[in-house]
């Protein structure tokens, strides 16, 4: 080891405290970088597994391919595994006790299919020939059909069609049993008959919608079994997961005349393969911003350590220079310091980061499990690439942090070190303070300001670090808010597990069912909602531009027809909702003066003129509180529309109660009223004999449940006993996935905020205390000429004040600029109003003063304890 490096190493050893602080700082940064990288990969991994367990592992789906095309797919170099599947169709399930599920739905897989699609055997084995079949457990438990392994069943297999006005419409598993007032409104054809032997029983597959009319049964298909004119669906797991796969698949389809290609976007998304370009860009920019934030934070923390270390060593760097050390040797000494610190902190940081994420996941996993008992847990996934990226980013961070100090070190000349007068080269003007300062703050304040002005370099370094802290804190808070908001925007807005829609408008009959259902177990929250589908002509100038545009060609330029969904919440639900919105519940109950809460702000999802999918938070209508919202209904074609009693707007909100689904398409608005008000305004309608009341009014019940599957079964039991028709939708899986996503994002974003806040605080304290420590002599001098401890404190306080003011003066505008920049980046895919996070700004402003003050007082107090003469005598080495 050469002498300069040895020297650097000794210096590090000698200043153990600072070295440890520096190393800790670097460790935190490295750990954070590791954490973010690992979190991303772990999250992706979890989502991959989640999606795979839900919808199977496949990437590209070629639909209806024949043998020749299949051959081409098999031979394609990008195909790793080819899964064959075929929907054979429906067969009546004889003896099904569930009127909503009268069929068996037969699907065929090849061997790969059984391996790669989520098929969970309860007993028996996977089919190995086309004569064998495995059936869903729910056939036995739900349909109460007595089938067991070894039984053979003969099925008449065909397709479902909905017949309406003579038109045949083919139905699939996502369409529930089609009914109308005459009962079942669909037919089942018979295409062929086949006898199967049952070889196994499986769990109800997760891809089977709860409302689908057919129980799943799986049989076997094989390439060799295919006839010349038979087609299958081929799902492919590709070898290389990258952006090229779309192009490749399309080419392959085109070359071989395959008509339909689709992708498992949901899965591919979590491999980072996204076709939607604007969303991808947004993601890239977002993660880029995140990394930049972390790196900037880390650099400001580590940079300070290096800068202070160089300042400390300035004298001996000068000495080295005078005995003939070249610029390069001096500069390299700082880089060597960086290397030493990096080689210690990078491995530890990576381990700490992994450990931290490991522990976090360990703690968070039960939380996830609570929300969703069936889901896979999040496990720690470490790719070599992650580690490599972390190391590269960390090395870059440390290098950048040490670059400026290294340059400063290389410029440290012998003469500066000998004279040590660099700090004292002052002109009067530089330290001139206004008389007002002296007048307002006294000599201590004047001195404080002079102190700051005198030592520009150190002052700037401290200020810089303060500003960075403020900017980091604010930007990160804003960033996490955006993250949550975008997650909310992209979600579907479903806020219930089970929905029940009644087919008939008969309040009394419906209420019996509702009461019955409400007594069931596993209901955590229920909301009964009656909806009146009304309309209203609204002045055009009250409509937002995007709605106006839709009606530009109509002559009714002065008013725009809005559909008004009047939702009556049951009292209990309304009460809590009113509380949430901040409206007096009693006012809503007052039927003589009917008032409503208007949900005027919704998350809109639409395609821009460039064809990009865009998410936006939009106001659907501009109403004022207290305004009357006129209502009317179309009863029939022959009659003119009926005017109903108008509603007074008492609140405008973006909050959505359980059970109400807001859309951004078209001019549709949801308003919330009490049942009393609802009854009042619909009084007239009840008395009339209306042909199709369901198209005007509908009752529904929304449930949040702790065990939605069980609840569904129970409700289905009630459904079977009752003659009152209602539809049951279990949206539990869909909802939970979204809820989980948002919860996870919250947990991690708040964690991130906490971490950044910690770093900012550490940074400020570190900077201030070193800057005070470096001024020991000066303070001792002030005390030696008779500054009292009170005066000293006062001076320190003023300094903190000046620091804080300056930091905020610079920090806030910079933060705003960055926030705005971030906002405009997001604007490509997401639109919502740009708002400043006032709460966080408040916190930042107050904390800056508090932390700076505490840090200064603390370090000042330490200095006060020291003997004046000892300090004065000390040579600054």
């Amino acid at each position: 080891m050469n002498i300069v490096n040895r020297l650097t190493l000794r210096q590090l050893m000698l200043n153990k405290k600072r070295t440890i602080v520096t190393i800790l700082g670097s460790i935190v940064s490295v750990a954070m970088i590791t954490a973010v990288c690992t979190l991303v990969t772990s999250f992706m991994d979890m989502m991959q597994r989640l999606v795979i367990s839900d919808s199977g592992e496949w990437h590209v789906l070629y639909k209806n391919v024949d043998k020749r095309q299949l051959d081409a797919i098999n031979k394609d170099e990008e195909s790793k595994i080819v899964i064959l599947s075929r929907d054979r169709g429906y067969s009546p399930l004889e003896g099904s006790q569930n009127p909503n599920k009268p069929y068996i739905f037969i699907k065929e897989y090849n061997k790969n299919g059984f391996a790669k699609f989520p098929v969970k055997l309860v007993e028996g084995r996977i089919p190995e020939s086309p004569d064998e079949i495995i059936i869903s457990q729910s056939i036995i438990s739900n349909a109460k059909v007595d089938l067991k392994i070894g039984d053979s069943i003969t099925l008449d297999i065909g397709q479902r069609y909905h017949i309406e006005d003579g038109e045949k419409l083919r139905l699939s598993q996502t369409d529930s049993l089609s009914r109308n007032e005459n009962g079942i409104a669909e037919i089942l054809t018979k295409e062929f008959t086949k006898t199967y032997t049952i070889v196994g029983i499986i769990e109800q597959p997760s891809w089977e919608p709860t409302w689908s009319p057919g129980y799943t049964a799986l049989s076997y298909v094989d390439e060799s079994l295919l006839g010349e004119d038979e087609t299958v669906n081929a799902s492919v797991i590709v070898k290389n997961l990258n952006q090229k796969l779309f192009k490749h698949a399309e080419n392959l389809a085109q070359e071989n005349g395959i008509n339909e290609v689709s992708y498992n976007h949901e899965l591919l998304r979590y491999y980072g393969v996204i076709k939607d370009d604007s969303l991808k860009n947004t993601l890239f920019i977002f993660s880029g911003i995140l990394m930049v934030i972390i790196v900037v934070g880390s650099i400001s923390l580590i940079y300070n350590a290096f800068a202070i270390s160089v300042a400390d060593r300035s004298r001996y760097l000068g000495m080295l220079s005078s005995v003939g050390a070249t610029k390069k040797q001096k500069r390299n000494s700082v880089f060597f310091e960086g290397t030493v610190i990096g080689s210690v902190s990078i491995p530890i940081g990576i381990l700490a980061g992994l450990l931290g994420i490991g522990v976090t996941l360990f703690l968070v996993n039960p939380l996830i499990k609570n929300i969703l008992p069936v889901t896979a847990n999040m496990r720690l996934v470490v790719h070599p690439a992650t580690i490599l990226v972390t190391v590269l980013i960390s090395v870059a961070t440390i290098f950048i942090s040490s670059y400026i100090p290294a340059r400063r070190a290389s410029n440290m000349s012998a003469i500066d070190a000998i004279r040590q007068t660099k700090d004292v080269k002052l002109t009067k003007r530089q330290v001139k303070t206004s008389r007002i300062t002296r007048f307002i703050f006294g000599i201590e304040g004047d001195l404080a300001l002079k102190n700051l002005k005198r030592n520009k370099g150190r002052y700037k370094a401290t200020l810089f670090s303060l500003i960075i802290s403020i900017v980091l804190f604010l930007v990160v808070s804003q960033f996490t808010q955006y993250l949550k908001k975008t997650a909310e925007l992209t979600s579907d807005g479903i806020n219930y597990d089970v929905a029940i829609y009644f087919e008939e408008w008969n309040k009394e009959k419906n209420n019996i069912i509702i009461d019955k259902i409400k007594t069931l177990d596993n209901i955590t929250k229920s909301a009964k909602i009656d909806i009146l589908y009304a309309s209203s002509n609204i002045d055009a100038d009250k409509a937002p531009d995007f709605i106006k545009e839709q009606y530009t060609d109509s002559d009714a330029n002065e008013s725009i027809p809005y559909q008004i969904y009047v939702n009556a919440l049951d009292d209990a639900s309304l009460k809590s909702y009113a509380n949430e919105v901040g409206v007096d519940f009693e006012k809503l109950k007052d039927a003589n003066n009917p008032s409503a809460i208007v949900i005027d702000t919704v998350n809109r999802r639409y395609y821009t003129s460039e064809g990009n999918l865009k998410y936006e938070e939009s106001k659907m209508i501009n109403l004022d509180i207290g305004e009357k919202l006129p209502l009317s209904i179309y009863v029939s074609e022959e009659e003119p529309e009926w005017e109903l009693e108008s509603l007074k707007v008492i609140a405008l909100t973006n909050k959505v109660p359980v059970g109400i689904f807001t859309f951004g398409g078209g001019s549709i608005i949801n308003v919330i009223v009490s049942e009393d008000v609802f009854d009042k305004i619909t009084e007239d309608i009840k008395n009339k004999d209306i042909k199709n009341p369901v198209s005007l009014m509908q009752s529904s019940l929304f449930l949040i449940s702790s065990n939605p599957l069980k609840l569904q079964e129970d409700i289905e039991a009630i459904q079977n006993e009752s003659d009152n028709m209602f539809h049951l939708y279990n949206l539990y899986f869909q909802r939970q996935r979204e809820a989980q996503l948002i919860t996870l994002i919250s947990v991690f974003t708040y964690g991130f905020i906490a971490l950044i806040t910690a770093i900012c605080i550490a940074n400020i304290i570190n900077t201030i205390s070193t800057s005070i420590a470096l001024r020991k002599r000066e303070f001792a001098m002030l005390r030696s000429v008779g500054m009292t401890p009170q005066g000293f404190n006062k001076m320190i306080n003023f300094e903190s004040l000046f620091y804080g003011i300056k930091a905020i003066l610079f920090g806030l505008p910079i933060s705003f600029a960055i926030m705005y920049l971030m906002h405009s980046t997001l604007d490509v895919s997401f639109s919502f109003g740009f708002a400043l996070p006032w709460l966080e700004i408040g916190i930042a402003v107050v904390s800056v003063f508090v932390i700076v003050g505490i840090a200064m007082l603390y370090s000042g107090a330490k200095i006060k304890k020291e003997n004046i003469i000892d300090v004065l005598k000390q040579e600054i080495i």
Partner: protein, 230 residues
């Protein structure tokens, strides 16, 4: 006494500051030094002695003029070459020793060689160390030494690379009289025995009188320059 010219100073000027506040620290100074000379530079404070020494030592830059050491115009060298030149041809001794606190005596002494990536010659080092009376202090850190000892280390450091010229800026300014005379004695030993050219700045008349040649400076000019022994 030899006649080889070690140092030539030509029209050296140094001006600090600009305009009205400009201070002429050196005003057209010229002289030559031959090998083995022991020169004392005296003068009141602010007369430009230290500036002169720093410029001779290649650590400060003159406003105009040339410094030629063993035929090399040192301010024509770029910064890196000048640093290397310093490490091989110039030995500097300061009033405040300027030792590196984290290096031991041996490392501090051999620093110019170590910076050159060389291994010091043990025999030669032992000789110097013995002369300096530091043989039992080689592993000590500077803060474990007395001021006199520290200054002896810095003499060793200035000497180790066998430089063309040794420059000392008030080497005894921080020492008591006993240590002062010791330091001067040592400098003289090296001057006499090794024919080491030596320029020393001092306030102390008695030290100045031990030199071969005394220059007196005032207001940035050399006002007297006399040989008192040869």
């Amino acid at each position: 006494m030899s006649t080889i010219e070690i140092l030539r100073v030509e029209n050296l000027s140094k001006i600090y500051g600009k305009g009205e506040t400009a201070v002429k620290a050196l005003d057209d100074v010229s002289f030559t030094v031959t090998k083995g000379e022991f020169i004392a530079v005296v003068g009141p404070s602010g007369s430009g002695k230290s500036t002169l020494l720093h410029i001779l030592g290649g650590v400060d830059r003159p406003t105009s003029g040339r410094v030629i050491i063993e035929g090399t115009d040192i301010y024509k060298l770029d910064e890196t070459k000048l640093a290397i030149f310093r490490r091989r041809q110039i030995g500097l001794i300061y009033q405040f020793y300027n030792l590196i606190p984290v290096l031991n005596v041996k490392e501090n002494m051999t620093l110019p060689l170590l910076l050159d990536g060389r291994t010091p010659d043990e025999a030669e080092l032992t000789k110097i160390v013995n002369t300096l009376g530091l043989s039992d202090r080689l592993d000590y850190l500077p803060n474990q030494l007395s001021g006199g000892q520290q200054q002896r280390v810095s003499i060793g450091r200035a000497l180790i690379s066998n430089p063309a010229i040794m420059l000392a800026d008030e080497p005894t300014g921080n020492l008591d009289s006993k240590n002062s005379s010791e330091i001067i004695e040592l400098l003289k030993v090296f001057n006499k025995k090794l024919k080491q050219t030596l320029i020393i700045i001092t306030h102390d008349e008695r030290i100045a009188l031990q030199a071969d040649r005394v220059m007196t400076m005032k207001d940035g000019r050399i006002i007297t320059d006399e040989v008192i022994r040869s």
